[in-house]
């Protein structure tokens, strides 16, 4: 199959991982799959609120996807160099695979959100207004229940991620 039109209709349906394998198939597929529009679609599926952002990103969606996706490697901890009041929270909350909340929330409002039990899947991406970068704090993590311990676990997730975090200028 060599029809470009068909590929351009099929690729937006794919997840970023599959799009990445498509780039290895042949030159034609690579050239079509590297279009950042497709990576925006892939990002939008995984982190819907990212596309609500008004000012354009300084990095490509391709890079963004890759950075967020491979965040599993653990590294030693650095203290986060952030204060709450400069942050915007991009919050997507799923329940039973359905997107029930997708918003950009400035930090002072976040305290007012009550997370309803029992089962939630949550992604949290943070952008810093002053340096125009985005970080993925939680990617579709499942919470079975919410209590003080898991809030601590959440904070730990953040700390764990901070070394790879695009906010830190050395990365």
């Amino acid at each position: 199959m060599s029809n470009e039109e068909v590929l351009k209709a099929v690729f937006p349906l794919l997840d970023g991982v599959d799009l990445a394998s498509c780039m290895v198939v042949c030159k034609q597929w690579r050239d079509i799959a590297k279009d950042d529009y497709l990576w925006k679609c892939a990002c939008a599926k995984r982190w819907p609120s990212i596309c609500q952002r008004l000012n354009p990103l300084t990095l490509t969606y391709h890079k963004l996807y890759k950075t967020f996706y491979k965040r599993k490697n653990q590294q030693s901890l650095l203290p986060p160099r952030l204060t709450l009041d400069v942050l915007e929270f991009f919050i997507d909350i799923w329940s039973d695979d359905k997107l029930i909340f997708s918003e950009v929330v400035p930090s002072p409002v976040l305290g007012g959100i009550k997370i309803p039990p029992p089962e939630l899947v949550m992604s949290l991406n943070i952008t810093s207004k002053d340096i125009n970068n985005v970080a993925c704090i939680i990617s579709k993590s499942l919470f079975d229940y919410i209590d003080r311990t898991s809030f601590r676990a959440l904070a730990f997730d953040f700390l764990n991620f901070s070394p790879q975090h695009p906010f830190i200028p050395s990365i």
Binding site: M1, N3, C22, M23, K27
Partner: protein, 165 residues
């Protein structure tokens, strides 16, 4: 009953003719525009030069059901019924036919069916190895060994947990 005015004849690449209700054929944009171009002419035959008869039959089957379901479920529930039918419809199409069908549907410019077929094709790419995708789509790898190694390295992050088939 529909009069012959409401019928159109679609001719496959082999020359096989299919008589189809206008309500069905009008979903194929290419047929619609051909007919508009020769409005007033009594000749209601449209040649679909590159489309084989078996694909013409599949496309007609899909839109026949589409039109019927839409009439039957005007009050609501159309979308669910259509989804049910689409599932059955795709089950009887094998992998090879799916590729032929997507090209035919793209040529005929039939948006609803195009979406259905593209989704089915995307399923053949999801979570599959590069080798499987090449084989399935009959693609010759035109990267040099070095180029391929380099691009694989760049996308190594994506390869964990991919099926071989």
């Amino acid at each position: 009953m529909a009069s012959t005015d409401d019928k159109v004849i679609l001719k496959s690449s082999e020359g096989e003719c299919f008589e189809v209700d206008m309500a069905v054929a009008s979903h194929l944009q290419i047929v619609k525009s051909v007919l508009e171009d020769c409005e007033g002419s009594s000749d209601k035959v449209v040649s679909l030069f590159i489309v084989e008869a078996k694909y013409v039959a599949m496309i007609i089957e899909y839109y026949k059901n589409y039109v019927e379901l839409k009439e039957k479920h005007e009050e609501g529930g159309f979308e669910e019924k259509l989804k049910e039918f689409e599932k059955q419809f795709l089950e009887q199409i094998d992998k090879k036919e799916l590729k032929g069908l997507v090209m035919a549907v793209n040529y005929l410019n039939a948006p609803a069916l195009f979406d259905v077929v593209c989704t089915a094709i995307a399923k053949h790419i999801e979570n599959k190895s590069v080798e499987y995708v090449r084989e399935y789509f009959g693609i010759v790898n035109d990267f040099t060994a070095e180029e391929e190694a380099q691009i694989r390295e760049e996308h190594r992050w994506a390869y964990d947990g991919v099926n071989d088939d």
